[in-house]
Symmetry: C3
Subunit: 428 residues, 3 copies
């Protein structure tokens, strides 16, 4: 960490400033002379969508950030590295998406660019969840740059070549981010953690912090799925469908959580995560004419599949596939993302959209998963190089490797009483 991390962060920021200097302009540069201080149609739309942008912004920084604070000793990294990834990612996402969609011309910043810049960071934050606690900040900077590049490429393919529908990005963000992260986690497999780790668990209050993240994601998901939808009926439907899909998903999540747990109790992991699967799964067809009851069916199924995933697939992944998925992103984003892609195919087949075909939708799903896995494997190989300050096994899931940490509570002598974690450092 000593110099590699600060120098890489500074170099990346300098690069961003240069790229912005070369490629990025205000949307209305040429209008400034003419319409100075007067309102234009563009600025009307800007102000109209700004509340949706801010909802998405809250999801990215508070939602994803706090959702991952469930680990008892990894809250600083969860919320702090989340902020770092997203801040770099939204700059690079502006460039990467802008260049592809503008074929060499200047990128003009409007509210849609800003929303899509935030979107692009979501892919990395999802993947971050898969490798949470087992990677260094430097590794996350590298993953941010690579993953957003691959994401922008796949999104261009889905949008411009396949011309598929994926308004809430079930495929291009959620499935993509999950499978990218799982591929990275697979390459970075640590046999030393195969029996688990003392720090890979929550305490009572860390689970409450995580619920802050869950709720802000849950509440603002209708904004996520509708923010870049066509104005009018499509945007309206995206909000309504997501609202009801999420509500239905909560009921089935609670039911199946209780059904699977010891003596019918509820499991916080399911409540924190599976309640959101309804937002993921309705994403692809959120703006289509699927009717409120249709979205509730999708949400109900997503909640069930997500709880099943947490209960049965995650342990299996860790032991059989040698993929250690810290946050269970496969159950929150991977499976529900695939469900979303499939729901999109069914909806298109049933005539809920007039602008896409089932072939195009299937191609989009395949390309999203395919590019994610390939991109993730390559990224994993790069991150495996033993020069990025990754934490040793025994110090995984522990903030004190990369952060100055205060006492655990008032009268403790140290963060962990019986240990000496305050003196931890990476082995580089």
């Amino acid at each position: 960490m000593r110099f590699k991390f600060p120098l890489m962060a500074l170099a990346l920021e300098v690069a961003m400033i240069i790229l912005f200097g070369l490629f990025v302009q205000y949307e209305t540069d040429q209008n400034i002379q003419h319409f100075n201080n007067s309102k234009s149609v563009a600025s009307d739309r800007f102000l109209e969508l700004y509340p949706l942008f801010q909802d998405v912004h809250v999801m990215i920084f508070v939602g994803f950030g706090f959702l991952m604070t469930f680990l008892k000793k990894y809250g600083f990294s969860s919320v702090g590295i989340n902020l770092l990834i997203a801040s770099l990612g939204l700059q690079w996402g502006t460039i990467a998406q802008g260049i592809l969609h503008n074929s060499g011309q200047k990128i003009h910043i409007d509210i849609t660019n800003m929303i899509k810049a935030d979107f692009s960071t979501a892919t990395v934050l999802i993947s971050f969840g898969a490798v949470l606690g087992k990677t260094s900040p430097i590794q996350m900077l590298i993953m941010t740059i690579i993953e957003i590049t691959v994401f922008a490429g796949n999104e261009y393919l889905v949008d411009e070549i396949f011309k598929a529908s994926d308004i809430g990005a079930s495929m291009t963000i959620h499935a993509f981010g999950a499978y990218f992260g799982l591929a990275v986690a697979g390459v970075l497999y640590r046999s030393g953690l195969r029996r688990g780790h003392d720090s890979e668990e929550s305490v009572y209050h860390s689970d409450l912090f995580a619920m802050i993240g869950t709720l802000f994601l849950w509440m603002f998901w209708p904004s996520f799925n509708s923010a870049i939808a066509d104005p009018g009926d499509k945007q309206y439907r995206a909000m309504v469908n997501t609202y009801f899909s999420l509500a239905a998903c909560v009921l089935t999540t609670y039911a199946f959580s209780s059904l699977f747990e010891h003596r019918g109790k509820l499991n916080m992991v399911h409540i924190q995560n599976a309640t959101l699967a309804g937002g993921v799964a309705v994403g692809t067809c959120a703006d289509m004419v699927i009717n409120p009851y249709g979205s509730m069916i999708i949400g109900s199924i997503a909640g069930i599949i997500s709880v099943v995933g947490f209960k049965f697939l995650t342990p299996l992944f860790a032991t059989k596939l040698r993929i250690q998925d810290t946050c269970g992103v496969h159950n929150l984003h991977g499976l529900p993302g695939v469900v979303g892609g499939l729901a999109g195919i069914v909806a298109v087949a049933m005539g809920a959209s007039t602008t896409s075909t089932t072939d195009m939708q299937a191609a989009a799903l395949g390309s999203s998963i395919g590019t994610a896995v390939v991109g993730g494997l390559i990224t994993g190989l790069i991150l495996k190089l033993p020069i990025w300050g990754q934490p040793p096994d025994q110090h995984c899931y522990d903030d004190s490797v990369y952060w100055e940490v205060p006492r655990w509570r008032e009268h403790d002598n140290q963060f962990q009483e019986q240990g000496n974690h305050n003196q931890l450092e990476p082995e580089v």
Copy 2:
């Protein structure tokens, strides 16, 4: 809990999907052919009110949810069962309110339906506060269905028959929810808890979590009171009046909290709750011409009455009336709701509204309290049946009855060191 809870949750969700399939349509179904992807007046209004809807949404899920996390061992249930109640409630509220107001026709979902669906859940969440810690999730599912049905009936009476004014729902939501909950709590009285309970208290951090709830309720209350107001001056006044009423309420709450406490100290219970009474009490006349100073007088009075209620009435209720009101909803919603109803009568008498009369306002207040008490008593009797998995006295206010709970902190062996609460379960 073993099967009753999951089966009831699943059955309710299936019922909701069927009801939505039968009765609910997009608002603009018939317009989709004509205006596909073009903006209509309806979708303009949708987007215009969407930020207010999201503010209300945050109040329901984060506001109510975290406000109740003040109990040291009941945070999972507070925020988790709050989410469950609201998710079921908004689906049933859509149906219950829609059918009454549309007399058999299809229900067309617009932004007002969604706001009112969220509103309808608030009644149950208020009542939930009265019985917090002493009921099971199954009981809360049942209460959700019954209470919203009664609420929709009373609201129809107030709106359509009495044609009374109650824009911020001081009477139909706050007073109604409080007296409904108190009636339920009265029927469910537990003499075993008459000397209090070890777990019925806060710890330092749980009080901070509760302040998250308080602040989001406090900040977004102007949106609550104005969300379904008539566009233009009325909506504007509802925002302005609520803003100033709440600010004034904070000053009197702090003053009286300090005045009543030992050595002039401040009491977190008052700060968390009574600061919000100004939003409740200005609700009925929020859109009337009461002037900013008028709303500040209402807010000031509400703060004082609420603190007085917490200090003197709540202990009296528990001992004399045998009503154990866990969160003191009588002081936050009951009394200030009645103050709001009375302020409405005074404001109408002084000519602040041209569309209502004092008689109509008085009838609305009476009907809201009357239906609440009757509905609450009946609900209480149903919930008293010993088949709903209610917790035994000694395990009240304890998440571990219904939740898998992690350790309390890093190096504890269990949630509660000296106990065996991890093994708790309901006596059913």
Copy 3:
């Protein structure tokens, strides 16, 4: 505290109600007859800016409130006294700003008044950060009234006399609030705290609570800098520039935090505070044509300067200048505010604005710092009178002086096990 605090709070609220009765009206009083219930241009603009107002509102109450909860035993005061200050401040700010700008006429409340009322409280909340833990609630009520009066005077000077540009208030709010607070802290210097204090530190969870404040400030800062900008291009630019300035600031903050700390670790104090400096520093020229890369340069510099300030200046201030700045407001608001003022001069010199000159900008910066220091010194002298219930040195940074505090955790006997802090009280 026994009677002074409640009586002062009540007297202030009564005074506010009288002042509002005399001076404050609805914006559209004269229109109510004509346009009752119909939408006017004014109410359209009201609804359009209302989401920005709510973002600012969240920054004031959740942002500032939780940012200061980092101290392990001072969370109640941080978030509670923040609410008290802001609630009084927004009422007095409405009057103070309204009277100056309306020269004796009635004050008509529109959305801009409400945003500016919230803004005016920010100055006091910044100063509150400098004296956090060392003052009583009574002292904060007094500071609120004086500081907002001086602020309104300086703002009138900057806006109406100098006609300088300062859309995001780098000078009039951030630099002003910081230097006012530092002057107060200088006068109230406590030599008994020169070697620090056991309670002046965080614990693990209090740092996570503080991150809630950081993130809501960070996310909504584009709304702060654009809320009262001219509609159209200027407002658009204020949002875009602030968005990118903050993102760039995060990268340099992380880099320099790691560079300066022991073994390259990250320091939560920097992450909580310096990441926000980009929002402060871009404030003055946020609506000018500085281009996205220009705002990123400003943000990058602000992050670096802020971390440098925390590392080297704050210790120096405490020892050499005898100014104990609890939250380091000089590094978050003072220095970045001056950087913002200077950036404004440079931007105007480079032609980024056609409505201001460098002389006017320099005068605004000088007047903001000058009035802040003079106002702060006078306020400090008033607050030094030994009649306001200030806490003795040994009980600084401890909620239990002014609050009833619960146990620290489940099985503790008291807030602090080895102490008797529950019995603390001010020495008045």
